[in-house]
């Protein structure tokens, strides 16, 4: 909930000093917004704003308050009750019974899960459901952490930068259990060719997501946690040995090719070095770009709400403020911000906030002097006609961070091994680490924009 200040009511519409139509400006990018015309309205508007922001599918709410309303006095009997979010909505038992039957009859079911699982707080139910019927789980970028990375049933992330194994595995599914997902184009690739042999069962809190992109054989709009609790009670156990044998075969055919350990300074090796040292409860935030995709591919997210990233909107600049927020909420846990030079520059002023608050945020800056994901697209799909992707002027981020009074270090590729990383991660307080990255490094595999998920380029095993 953002409460914003507006010019006095009498000046609205006169192009007053610093007047901007915050209501109109925020309308398409919020769940709802309010322009308050009288202080008495605040008694209803403020609880309504929090109720709206938290209920159902959560979303941002703006309350714009003109200056005269801010200064106005109002008398009232009692304070309004603080807002409570709506209780979770259950699903029709008949739908759940049909869903159990569909799963029971399916030979190659896959759980396709997303951020809705994390919002609903039902990771335990997801694990129970997957284990009970031996259903493998693939996750979207926003769903990472909902199901523990490295679990035998974990297929990893699907989609544009998912692994070859994952995208080929879900292609063979005959039933797609789409839980808390919205069939985002980065996950599905070419929609018409996404899981072509699978019937779809879709559960999401937002009715407008049902059948928006893919028509489902069975769907219900409700809380996915409630749905899973209902489903677990009636779903029989199954070990699905032939489906898992086939998945093992695919795993051998399409192994993930990690860079060799001696390729020190390879971004995936930096990420893996972080993953080996951070605990499951430590929080990782990212910005948007290549570093984000490398982190999604190689960082083992093992618990819900430990992976904070900007998915659908891909808002560069998200990582540092998100890390500050996470560290304020969970000061006892370590918070790591994985970022890129392009993204960090979007909210570089927050280094001052970090220095003010002295929070234990460690910033790992994957610095290639480029807007790398766009550079990669220009290389692969636009005939290497590079435009506006290289920073002609790049700040010295170490000096910059130090000028805010922050500890900062520049690492060399050879530093990828050694104790310095442990020292930084165990030291108190904030720190920025500048990691030089080869600008020619690409994120692979990659599904070409508009292509089907099976048409991945790069990332093959080199025999």
């Amino acid at each position: 909930v953002a409460i914003t200040g507006q010019v006095p009511s009498a000046l609205i519409g006169t192009d007053a000093f610093q007047e901007v139509d915050t209501y109109g400006l925020s309308l398409p990018i919020t769940k709802h917004n309010f322009l308050v015309r009288d202080a008495a309205e605040l008694l209803e508007v403020i609880p309504a704003a929090f109720h709206l922001a938290e209920s159902g599918r959560p979303g941002p709410v703006v309350v714009d308050v003109p200056k005269d309303v801010q200064m106005q006095s109002v008398e009232f009997e009692r304070w309004p009750e603080p807002a409570r979010k709506d209780p979770p909505v259950g699903c029709d038992p008949d739908d759940i019974a049909r869903l159990a039957e569909m799963i029971h009859k399916a030979n190659r079911p896959v759980l396709y899960i997303g951020g809705g699982i994390i919002t609903s707080g039902c990771s335990k139910e997801l694990r129970q459901l997957a284990l009970q019927n031996s259903i493998p789980v693939t996750s979207t970028l926003m769903g990472l952490g909902a199901f523990p990375a490295g679990d035998p049933l974990d297929l990893g992330m699907l989609g544009m930068h998912g692994s070859r194994f994952t995208n080929h595995a879900i292609e063979e599914a005959d039933l797609l259990l789409a839980l808390g997902v919205r069939f985002d184009d980065r996950a599905t690739g070419k929609v018409a060719e996404f899981c072509p042999n699978a019937a779809i069962a879709h559960i999401d809190i937002d009715p407008a997501e049902i059948d928006k992109i893919k028509t489902s054989a069975l769907s219900t709009a409700g809380d996915v946690g409630e749905a899973m609790r209902q489903l677990i009670k009636i779903l029989p156990e199954d070990n699905r040995s032939s489906w898992h044998a086939r998945l093992d075969e695919l795993r051998r055919t399409y192994p993930i090719e990690w860079p060799a350990p001696e390729q020190t300074g390879h971004p995936l090796n930096w990420i893996r070095a972080l993953g080996e040292r951070l605990e499951p409860a430590d929080i990782v935030t990212t910005d948007v770009g290549q570093h984000q995709m490398w982190a999604a591919q190689a960082y083992p997210v093992r618990a819900p709400r430990t992976w904070l990233t900007s998915g659908g909107l891909g808002t560069m600049g998200f990582g540092l403020p998100a890390a500050i927020g996470a560290a304020l909420e969970k000061p006892e846990q370590r918070t790591v911000c994985i970022t890129g030079d392009g993204s960090l520059l979007m909210n570089i002023q927050e280094l001052a906030t970090l220095a003010d608050l002295q929070l234990p945020v460690k910033i790992f800056l994957f610095n290639n002097g480029h807007l790398g994901l766009v550079r990669q697209q220009q290389e692969l799909f636009y005939g290497r006609r590079y435009h506006a992707v290289e920073f002609e002027t790049s700040p010295d981020f170490v000096t910059l961070a130090r000028s805010f009074g922050l500890e900062a270090h520049r690492m060399k590729p050879a530093d990828a091994t050694g104790g310095w990383l442990d020292n930084i991660l165990t030291a108190p307080g904030p720190c920025l680490v500048d990691l030089p990255i080869q600008s020619a490094e690409n994120v692979f595999p990659m599904v070409p924009p508009g292509g089907a998920n099976r048409e991945m380029i790069g990332g093959e095993i080199h025999a």
């Binding site: 209501y23 109109g24 398409p28 709802h32 917004n33 322009l35 009715p207 407008a208």
Partner: protein, 91 residues
Amino acid sequence: MRKPVIELLVNNHPGVMSHVTGLFSRRAFNLEGILCGSVGDGKQSKMFLMVNEDRRLPQLLKELAKLHDVMSVQLRHEIDDSIFAPLHAVM
């Protein structure tokens, strides 16, 4: 050819029209005509929206229903789009 008419019951305040028309424009959906007037004690309004036949119409109805100030959404097949005809006299 008759065009579908959507009837909305909405909270009557100055921002409602922006929310409704904003939804149409950002979802790339054509809005052919609007009739609007307050009902009852003036706290609510009814809006009649003339649209084109479109396979995305069910999706649009779901999006309209999600707007906080929209109380109800109905596709009024029985309403003739001739309710918009008097507009021609002034245009």
